[in-house]
């Protein structure tokens, strides 16, 4: 039996089909979830993919956060279900306050698309167990609202608890405080990051690297071991 990973589509989601592909490449079953449905179809984990849900109008993630599917995701996440937010998904997670902080316009004000080097700081989350702490990976980064901010108290807390999951290396691409590229909740089941692991899972496609596959193999192991 393999595990079922739900991939949510909001209006304006872009990377849902790519994320489903990445899930399948890791030998998991990809289950499309629709924003209007509260029903999570008994999935074992959920990915909120990248894109511009609701055009990123108002603020990135601000409108999607109120969708029916998110009511269920929030509830289940609080109960321990693994949830990964990539880019726009990360923005949704901060808007729901499942993860602290907020995402703002990049400090240089431009959209930026590049191959981004990261350090995996926390390899104990549901989505990073297949990496080593301190491992350096490269995955595509592409966004305009990628500047992570939170107040000093929250940042210190994140650092103290080891909840900074990923940090930018070789130059901060957007002004994120403390070079934060992604964070986790205290339980390690909810993880959000701006770069796109689902676009680094096949050789020859995109940057040609497969450094992002570990997110999906991590969750596979976790779910299969649990069952």
């Amino acid at each position: 039996m393999t595990a079922r990973v739900g991939v949510v589509t909001f209006p304006g989601t872009l990377d849902d089909r790519d994320t489903q592909r990445a899930v399948r490449i890791a030998d998991l079953e990809a289950v499309p979830l629709w924003h209007r449905d509260k029903d999570l179809k008994q999935v074992d984990a959920v990915v909120l993919p990248g894109g511009f849900s609701y055009g990123d109008y108002l603020r990135a993630g601000a409108i999607s956060r109120f969708s029916p599917v998110m009511e269920s995701v929030i509830e289940q996440a609080k109960g321990g279900m693994p949830v990964l937010g990539i880019c726009n998904g990360f923005q949704v997670l901060t808007e729901t306050h499942l993860l602290p902080g907020a995402m703002l316009r990049n400090n240089h004000l431009h959209f930026i698309c590049r191959d981004q080097k990261l350090r995996v700081e926390n390899a104990d989350t549901a989505w990073t167990a297949d990496y080593e702490a301190g491992q350096e990976i490269s995955v595509p980064l592409k966004n305009i609202d990628g500047r992570y901010v939170a107040d000093e108290r929250v940042l210190d807390e994140l650092e103290a608890e080891g909840r900074v999951a990923f940090r930018y290396l070789d130059g901060n691409p957007n002004g994120s405080l403390r070079d934060i590229a992604g964070i986790t909740n205290a339980a390690g089941n909810v993880v959000g990051l701006m770069p796109h692991p689902e676009h680094a899972v096949e050789p020859g496609i995109g940057t040609g690297r497969t450094d992002g596959l570990g997110f999906f193999t991590s969750i596979l192991k976790k779910l299969v071991n649990a069952s």
Binding site: Y54, G55, Y57, L58, I63, F66
Partner: protein
């Protein structure tokens, strides 16, 4: 130091996708009775020296040539009290 506020809004006849998206979301969030939403920009300028007519005229010009794109936007300038 005095503060001057420049509000920049899309002209009424120009499509405002952002305002529309907000308006359409409101009923779902349980807020009824908002017939229209327009979203624009607000600039707060901290002005050195006195905000006299000359200063306001300059800010008006700045708004017209730079802060707003008058092809699609209107603007207002006012001293914040």
């Amino acid at each position: 130091m005095a503060r001057v506020v420049v509000d920049v809004m899309l002209k009424p006849e120009i499509l405002d996708p952002q305002g529309q998206a907000v308006q359409r979301a409101l009923p779902r969030l349980g807020f009824e009775g908002i017939a229209d939403v327009r979203q624009g920009k607000r600039f707060e300028l901290e002005v050195e020296g006195p905000v006299d007519e000359a200063a306001l005229a300059r800010i008006h010009e700045m708004a017209e040539t730079f802060l707003a794109n008058t092809v699609i936007e209107d603007f207002t300038v006012r001293v914040d009290s």
